[in-house]
Symmetry: D2
Subunit: 271 residues, 4 copies
């Protein structure tokens, strides 16, 4: 049988379908691009992400944007949930993968995972031609916070540098910034309500990815909608933050920190 299969005469019914990387030939290929082409041509990590996730080659300004997102989301200090858990696991003497994973598992609705929702909300509202007031008040009636809006510390007069840098880049290189403009209009409206209701970095990345999907000419409407619906964009944060979580895990090993035990006096034992 094995011989027959090898000879291509019979074919066992396949149980797995896969589309992104072919490892069967001389060189592995990423959506058709060989390793040699990747390294000798003018490709970077942003291109690898495009090929493996979006299954197409994107223009330079787009892959550079992806790399900027990865760079700016790579770390945000030792106090956030993800880094904290990676640190605790590293101090328990566990291997690097366990440390990384223990941290990654905290990424979700409250930490690192607002990009997809921001994109989903902005897309629906902007495509439907809602005014910022209609959009914001509509969500408010349903008791939903505007994803991508709001910050603990940043405010009207103390903007988030990362948001500024992304906007500046997109206005210079993107064919259109229609969704970003909409997001900024929403921010203008919410800033009238409270000074900390700024467009945050998740909201900015979400809106700009919508612009990329819509105006790069690389995605059909159906493809763009599918990407937003399935939720590809939080993955940018996940991969980016892996770099930081690894950094924290290795840092603790280098510092030879002992087993972490949360202090008793910081716990309220109640019932």
């Amino acid at each position: 049988l094995a011989a027959a299969v090898a000879a291509g005469k019979v074919r066992v019914p396949t149980h797995i379908v896969s589309t992104i990387c072919d490892d069967r030939g001389e060189e592995p290929t990423y959506y058709g691009v060989t390793m040699s082409e990747l390294i000798e041509g003018d490709y970077g990590i942003g291109d690898v992400i495009s090929l493996l996730w979006f299954k197409r080659k994107l223009p330079k300004y787009a892959t550079k944007f992806i790399e900027m997102c990865v760079m700016m989301c790579a770390d945000h200090g030792p106090c956030v949930s993800g880094a904290h858990n990676a640190i605790v696991t590293s101090r328990a003497g566990k291997d690097l993968v366990s440390c990384l994973v223990s941290g990654l598992l905290t990424i979700g609705p409250r930490f690192g995972g607002a990009i997809d929702d921001a994109a989903r909300y902005f897309k629906v509202a902007c495509d439907a031609g809602q005014t910022p007031s209609e959009f914001v008040e509509g969500l408010k009636r349903k008791g939903i916070r505007v994803a991508g809006i709001g910050h603990r510390i940043k405010s009207k007069d103390n903007r988030d540098k990362r948001v500024e840098l992304l906007q500046k880049y997109a206005r210079k290189f993107f064919p259109s910034t229609r969704y970003l403009d909409y997001a900024v209009d929403v921010e203008t409206y919410t800033l009238q309500k409270a000074p900390n209701l700024v467009l945050n970095v998740d909201g900015c990345i979400g809106a700009l990815f919508l612009d990329l999907l819509a105006s790069s000419g690389c995605f059909s409407d159906k493809e763009a909608a599918e990407i937003v619906e399935i939720g590809y964009l939080n993955a940018l944060f996940v991969v980016a933050r892996s770099i930081g979580l690894v950094g924290h895990a290795l840092d603790q090993k280098r510092l030879q920190q002992p087993l972490y035990r949360h202090p008793w006096e910081d716990v309220l034992y109640t019932s």
Copy 2:
């Protein structure tokens, strides 16, 4: 082909070999024991563990001992690494499995994982007829701590209740406690060095499992050695503590605790 396979005429070369549970018949069986037999006969969770891990039915005193270990290792408060990470993940709004897993990943050499090593060391030393002094000083020369010995708080005059309970049970029901006796002799020796070098719960479980493997008449010497070498015993702690980690994750959800952020002032930023 599928038809031929179904008819048993040809057989695709199997890629997986498995021995513990058969799900193909009327009822799933655990090492041959059907569900009905499990529930209607006098079986408990200790028997399920015996059947699925050790692939044999163990006597009642042994499965009761396994259940005691599970009960006593199920939780140890919110401050230890495992519970802490489960709590942080739960407060990040993640699903139950993610919380549990984030906590489990801290179990290892410094937290919860000294049972196998304790069993390994005690077995070699006791089988070789080393005196406690030879054993302890031998490890010391190699710079290795005696696994299963030592406690943060417990001491000569303030014994660990769990160790007392396990010893009492084993002396009453086990055919032999040769390895436990050896471990206690080691403790007598180490207590001369420092009052906190008591036999701890990991060491006690490790030694008692050696006794069970050697004297229950259910394991050949080769089988016993394999179990100790592969390291089955930490799994008792892992499964037991799953109960507690789930408890902590659900507790935080019930208390509707917000995202955890470690306080800045508790971190020393250095280089």
Copy 3:
């Protein structure tokens, strides 16, 4: 400061609140019950789960029911998602915790996680006095499958032994089986539609837990509703299956199986 804190004079604002296990005294306690009491009194693993998750002592018939659920969900062969991933990870030479965790992460809507939803649906429908027909057709209109109903292989004339065993037990020992009776009425209705639309083991556990919450006299209505809403019941499956996943991981190590590689000829490479 540390001294002041110790003296109880000042109190740093606590960052963690916890309720289930107190590790500060002589012996750790599970919701107030000491280790000695647990072991010397007539407690079992079902009681430990009650104390740590539900924060109360439940009657014997209830804790025995919990233990039956754990026993019957402990494993279901090597082919299901969870066992498969644990096997693959074990064959990659990874530690026991990594193997277990890799398997646990597959538990969810399609594998092992229908107990909470079954309980949620049955509770709403039964409390509202819906007839089985109203209930089933109502869900159908919304395009939702009835959680807890349906099986790949089992059918009208080939019942699931586990469901039979649980029903028999509950009818003998539970004060009321109102929700189970409702679930069985639903089954009678769905069986008219197709012979495989039987009450499955998830549905049976979900309904019976509702009966336990409502009729044991141990939970207020508010507490019962909270447990169903937060979703405590899938945790029974998660803890139970941990036993089986550990079994599969150890099994592969004992069999010294090499690195698993999925066969090329079983994959359809497409675009």
Copy 4:
């Protein structure tokens, strides 16, 4: 107290020490480099990795080398352990992070984790001036395989493209390739034993990182030794492969693949 802490008057004893990223100021910094500098200066993802892991700025040829490693290790098809587990978890309907993590946990001694060991062995041998024959035969006597040597498919006459590309780059840009040259000498020796005992991609990355640590002028000998001992280099593979694992998880969601169940006929049920 909180006020006093804020005022810097008292300082609670810190429980966490951290060195890589400071999130307290206007902009977060990666080892002192601000976000603006990162984006507006000529920095890339290789620089972010250098700053967060190695805590220093590395020359361009070095950060480009890091990026090449990430690009070439990003994916290797759906059949390898990591991709397979990510695919199975995705098909169980789980969230992206769970899929990624289930795959990452397979990375270790047999899959993706030979870079650190290759570096460790080559360093000791080369620094000690061992001839390739002494080195290889010495390991053989201890029953240890030469990490970084050997391949399933590639051989003398069918070299791995990735290894060729990395060598070519390093010979052009690295100040020294002493360790690579040593690794190639080892390969020359092992190729006399069998045609598939080529220098593989893990071995090539391991040797070249040794060259980078030794000849870039950025690391003291002590620092280089610490990096090799702690094991930083497998992390390159881990972060790189995260990209591919995410790709596979999203791929399955897009293809709406159902729950995976390993085929019964591919399993040998034995005892």
